[in-house]
Symmetry: C2
Subunit: 415 residues, 2 copies
């Protein structure tokens, strides 16, 4: 661990010989005035230890949800540009509040919105990707300030409109900022690090002190909520270690790092559970892959994220099956009906009441027998579907087997 | 009146041959969703009548007060820059909400914040003055939009920080925008026009269909709240007629125009009342005007607005007297004590319980006998102090005479 820490905080940018650190605090960490003062005190401690900080904040508590509710009182389908202009005010408020709290503690602080930090983005409203910050200006302002508080979750389009980065986007703001400045990145939330499985589900869950980008990506994609998946992708691309810690305690958190940095790789590093899955089966499609292509094209343009896809072709025609979260069933049904509107005799089945279990670990690549251990552990649990990648195994089981399966896997892989 | 209307809407800027109008809606006009929809419908009507609109909005209802309360939970003395960054979010929210409401009514609308409309300012935080808009960009966007909704009350400093214009600043935003675009300006609130005296005080108060810039300035300075004084100054400088109307009814409002446009000038056009005045008297100052200068310098730097100043020099020395709103007494006392700290034998008296009555009218310049009518009307009311300017007379009376005095003046000058 000490070697990781050393690497994580070495060779990074300094201003007037003081090393810069990027920190991010999530919405629940700044949900009210006491919590904002708590965050301000933690930042002061860090400044006193000899850092200057660029702090990224999310909107306070439920602000974003409340703004969306406000809009819904006028229309169910707000214009994407206007919605982004509105949501961005949430982080603008929290950035100012934190900055004022820091000034109260006698720190020199300045809040910066997307215009002031020149956060440029590309892509669509509500799912924009950050392309750059005004790094020079940030470093210039750090000469005369202890802390800069930057609004997360937002950036600017080429036309100077505001575009948000989507749910969890502030994580990405922080990592992109760290990459741009060449600074270490620390992400604080109400969970002190990354757990190999959800502690609410399995109280004895262990914290991963170290986890690779790839494992974290798989965990995030299969439902772990500590870090936003896109932020991990950016960290991986720029090789920025991410420290995940608690906003409320000094408990040691987790480092998400390049696989190369990990000395001992356990073959399986995490287990995640996604609930409310339905298993969708489409049968008796003509042996003509244009329908299959059309199904997945329409599913994608409907914004649906399907998983565990399997396609079988036999004498009855082509069968396509995949999983999806239950609440998206209606939208899926509409998309499928459009894709198959020229056909008559196909069948669609929806099987509800499933959960998806996923174990991940870069160690699987070299480890032997993980699949065998996996199926061995689940010997009493009937499974419906299994899919694997280089570093993960997922299986779909009926929900009544959840606790039994989780316990068996946690025990087998010492999670 | 028709001649005024013609002049007010003639020779103004057009986009694709459609005339542009600037409208402003105050905070109570957009205080909730019903009211926002009401404003949106009024705008749609205007668009259907053949205009394109640039609409300036204040923050919804009590938003600004609530944001200030939020800050006060952290500190009583927030940094001016950070406070402005915070307050600006109020108008950003209301601009988006109105824009979304307009889109729901099938209008093409875009909300623009201070960055997007490039509202440049000079001066201090919380009291900045607008210097320019990006007129070209606004006219360009009007080609493809029916309405642009611009955040009032705010602009940018040269460094790209947000600076607000002070209370009532959205009026100034609207007039400055109208001046910049060369468009007529309409300001909507919950009062349908400008009353010659407060209708709450004197229910039979008449509405002024026409009022000159100078009269309006005097009325605003002496407490009338319909239009922000600075907005009238800007209108006067650029000769922009302002129409003041109701957001809630089609009742005919008032025009604030250049004196030259007024065909019949009544000698007195308005009466205003300022309550809670104290009369301050400083006696026995040495006959040395440096103390008098110092008093008024310190009063000004303390941000205190004194009025009805009179200075008398006789054998007892110099006496200075003036009026001030009661609640500022403590701050005044501190300023005076500093100014006079080297002196011993002076006396300060504070007489509370006064109100200040002011009648204004450009007609006074040519009208004869206004002062005589004024004192005649008030023959049963003892007054403490009287001051006059070219177009106004103010007098200080004890508060128990308020109703009697207002009635007498309203009757005498047919207000």
């Amino acid at each position: 661990m000490n070697r990781i820490k050393e690497l994580a905080y070495k060779n990074y940018v300094k201003v007037d010989n003081i090393p810069i650190v990027v920190q991010k605090f999530g919405g629940s960490s700044v949900a009210d005035f006491d919590r904002i003062m708590n965050v301000a005190r933690r930042i002061r401690k860090r400044v006193n230890q000899g850092n200057k900080l660029v702090v990224v904040v999310s909107a306070m508590g439920k602000t974003t949800d409340n703004l969306i509710k406000m809009v819904k009182q006028i229309t169910e389908h707000p214009d994407a540009r206007e919605l982004d202009q509105l949501l961005a005010t949430g982080e603008q408020v929290s950035a100012v509040m934190l900055s004022i709290a820091l000034q109260k503690l006698k720190l020199k602080s300045k809040s910066l919105n997307a215009y002031q930090a020149r956060i440029q983005t590309l892509g669509k409203y509500s799912e924009a990707r950050i392309t750059s910050f005004d790094k020079r200006r940030l470093l210039f302002l750090l000469k005369t300030n202890d802390v800069l508080v930057v609004t997360g979750f937002q950036g600017l389009t080429d036309e100077g409109d505001i575009a948000t980065l989507g749910r969890g986007g502030s994580d990405t703001s922080a990592v992109a900022l760290a990459a741009s400045l060449n600074a270490p990145c620390e992400i604080y939330s109400d969970v002190a690090g990354i757990y190999t499985t959800d502690p609410k589900l399995y109280p004895a869950a262990k914290k991963a002190k170290l986890i690779s980008y790839d494992d974290m990506l798989e965990l995030a994609a299969s439902g772990a909520k500590v870090l936003h998946g896109r932020s991990v992708e950016v960290a991986k691309r720029f090789n920025i270690p991410i420290y995940c810690g608690s906003s409320f305690s000094d408990e040691e958190g987790s480092y998400v790092v390049n696989e190369e940095l990990m000395i001992e790789k356990s073959s399986v590093s995490g287990l995640s559970v996604m609930e409310n899955q339905i298993h969708v089966v489409i049968k008796k499609l003509p042996v003509n892959y244009s329908y299959v292509r059309d199904i997945f094209r329409r599913v994608a343009t409907s914004g649906l994220n399907v998983d565990m896809i399997s396609i079988i072709s036999d004498e009855d025609g082509i069968s396509v099956s995949f999983t999806l979260i239950d609440e998206k069933k209606k939208r899926l049904d509409a998309a499928l009906k459009r894709a198959l509107r020229e056909l008559r005799d196909y069948e669609i089945e929806y099987h509800a009441g499933f959960i998806k279990l996923t174990v991940v670990g870069v160690g699987m690549k070299s480890g032997i027998g993980v699949a065998s251990d996996f199926f061995n552990a689940l010997k009493n649990v009937p499974f419906k579907l299994v899919t694997t990648s280089e570093i993960k195994i997922s299986c779909l089981i009926e929900k009544q087997y959840k606790l039994e399966a989780v316990n068996a896997l946690v025990k087998k892989f010492k999670l």
